[in-house]
Amino acid sequence: MSSRNQLMDYIKQGLTTFFLSFITLGPLAAWQLQGYEVSGSILRAFRVSLALAVLRVIIMGINSRRQNNKREVKGLGLHSKVGSRSLSGIFQWENHNQGTKLLLSAALFVAVIAPMFGGNYALTVGITAFIYVLLGLGLNIVVGLAGLLDLGFVAFYAVGAYSYALGAEHLGIGFWGAIPFAAGLAAFLGCLLAFPVLRMHGDYLAIVTLGFGEIIRLILNNWLEFTGGPNGIKAPYPSLFGLEFTRSARIEDGTTFHEFLGIEYSSDYRYMFIYATLLLVVACTIFAVSKLKNMSIGRAWEALREDEIACRSLGINHVTVKLSAFAMGASIAGVAGVFFAAYQGFINPTSFSFFESALILAIVVLGGLGSIPGVIMAAIVLTVLPELLRQFAEYRILIFGISMVVMMIWKPRGMMANVRGRLKVKPIRQSAKT
């Protein structure tokens, strides 16, 4: 393409972008509603659309640059790779796990020593990040591995949180009892949801699960006598072997954690305890999920994602495969809910809105559908980054949205794509050049 044509193309695209964004985004940017009046001027609309037009031209420039580079690589680079190394046998095991393992152990190391330097605030950020890691791993099973788009995932999170708070109030279940209880209850609900939607996939499934999530939230919001409605409900603080993390014991003859150890009371201990327990649970979950992924059930999940009809004709029972995906994902979310309730000490339905589901989905999508290290990374980045960029807090959702769209267009498999180790046929003929 001649440079003059290219320039014309840039100008054309830039002008189109300017014009379209001026019409669409312009009016909302220019004027602000103040009661029945408006304030502002059209100048701001110009600024917004000009910025977008410039951005569009820059992206075009980068794109054409990249395409040119690609062409060069294709022309030159291909031959040098083939046959450069000789390995015994025809098959070659492509292993992608080595780097991942290293990364995971490094991350674990950082996670263990980080609270020693951070203090109370870092602990709370860490707890939030781990809760989202759990949620991301849970949804990753359902969406990433089994390919069932679940937009109501937050329902299981809510069930976990409420089963801890309500279980403590009505059934006297403690923190440790609540973890298996919430996991079981959420898994049961996951199966309950999965049964009717067995035949659905894609968009219909997404909408049904979305409806399910909203129904759960609305019931929590409206059932005043049981859940406290919008006012929420108190969740008790966790305890360790009956030792409480409060200033003074609330049950009679009880001992608190600091009294037992004979140290000064500090609210940090509670956060440290939750952090440590959560770290343990996260580590176990990562281990379990990565094992599951390579077991036959995990392979069945992924096979089902790729082609359901082929799967069924090969004798895979799609009912158990789907149910197990939903139940596994839900139980992980339920556990995350217990930790959320224990950490917050108070829960209400606003924590379980659709936005939360979208956020968890964003974590899974940005990390890479099906990729465990990707999901962990994305969960940590998406929870820690907003803390670091406090001054841009109001743009947080906007940035999520933009990154979801851009990711789908640019890298639909996520930042760290899910790659299976697989057998690859080694090229037999040596290339003429070597």
Partner: protein, 303 residues
């Protein structure tokens, strides 16, 4: 059961259902043509509500209500149609050939973008528009008063007119024929010389325009809105589309009316707190037991 409450709820349901039907058109046409749920559609409706308020406030009291109404209609429907077109071009067109989850996730992204953009530029608080056309009709029925405002009458009439015009366009004009052809078989339509990309863009634009009609009317009727109204309204309109049979235009209107009527009867006689739960349960039940809806074609799974 008091008869005047019943009639009042039926009238309310008719008004509500007409707007659901208008928004459902956008879902049903887009789903019919590219098989994707346009998740951002409810938020396009929300944007049109904001645009209505902006146009009305900019016009102020300088013009008569009727002129203001017409100007608002033309401007808002036009602007929102461009919105629909741009969104399709930016967020969905590059994903035409990707797996089915990709456009859906992209649409959720667009929905978040629209909500947050409006929140940033206009603030999170509730907004309101002045009453443009006061008054209405009232009847005495069986010991009570049944009232319906002029705006509500306008909603019923305008939505029927808009639906009629759209149905005529789809069934009688060359453009409509191209739309139907693309819906039945995009590949074959392209071979026969139809620019399917253009048709898809037009469908998005039309859907957004219909949502804008609903946006103007509902804003005038309720007078208050905020940046999050698109979500619930969107799901309900989608319910209407599914109820009527997704992909079918008359189905969207029938589904909308059915949903509006049953929802307002439910909130009038059973429990108004749980009216959203009712609508969502209806959606889930219809999708489970009769996913093809009332007028839709059953979907056959192909290898």
């Amino acid at each position: 059961m008091d008869s005047h409450i019943l009639i009042q709820q039926l009238a309310n349901g008719l008004v509500l259902g007409s707007t659901y039907g208008l928004i459902a058109v956008g879902y049903t046409m887009v789903y019919g043509i590219i098989g994707m749920i346009n998740f951002a559609h409810g938020d396009i409706y929300m944007v049109s509500a904001y645009l209505t308020a902006l146009v009305l406030a900019l016009l102020g009291a300088s013009v008569s209500p009727v002129v203001a109404l017409i100007v608002a209609f033309v401007l808002v429907v036009g602007l929102t149609a461009v919105f629909g077109f741009s969104i399709e071009r930016i967020a969905y067109k590059p994903l035409r050939k990707s797996p089915r989850l990709a456009p859906l996730i992209s649409a959720i992204g667009v929905s978040l973008i629209l909500q947050n953009y409006v929140q940033i530029t206009q603030g999170a608080r509730n907004q309101a528009v002045p009453t443009l056309i006061p008054g209405g009709l009232e009847w005495n029925v069986g010991g009570g008063v049944v009232g319906i405002t002029w705006v509500q009458v306008m909603i019923i009439i305008v939505s029927q007119l808009a639906m009629g015009a759209l149905t005529w366009m789809i069934s009688r004009t060359a453009l409509g024929r191209a739309c139907r052809a693309t819906e039945q078989d995009p590949k074959m339509a392209a071979i026969l010389g139809i620019n399917t990309d253009r048709i898809i863009a037009i469908v998005f634009t039309l859907g957004a325009a219909m949502a804008a009609v609903a946006g103007v009317l509902v804003t005038l009727n309720y007078g208050s809105f905020d940046f999050s109204i698109g979500f619930v309204t969107g799901i309900k309109a989608f319910t209407a589309a599914v109820l009527g049979g997704i992909g079918s235009l008359p189905g969207a209107m029938i589904g909308g009316l059915l949903l509006g009527l049953s929802e307002s009867l439910f909130s009038g006689f059973v429990n108004s707190d749980y009216k959203d739960v009712f609508a969502f349960s209806l959606l889930v039940l219809v999708l489970i037991f009769k996913p093809s809806g009332l007028l839709g074609r059953p979907q056959v799974e192909k290898v």
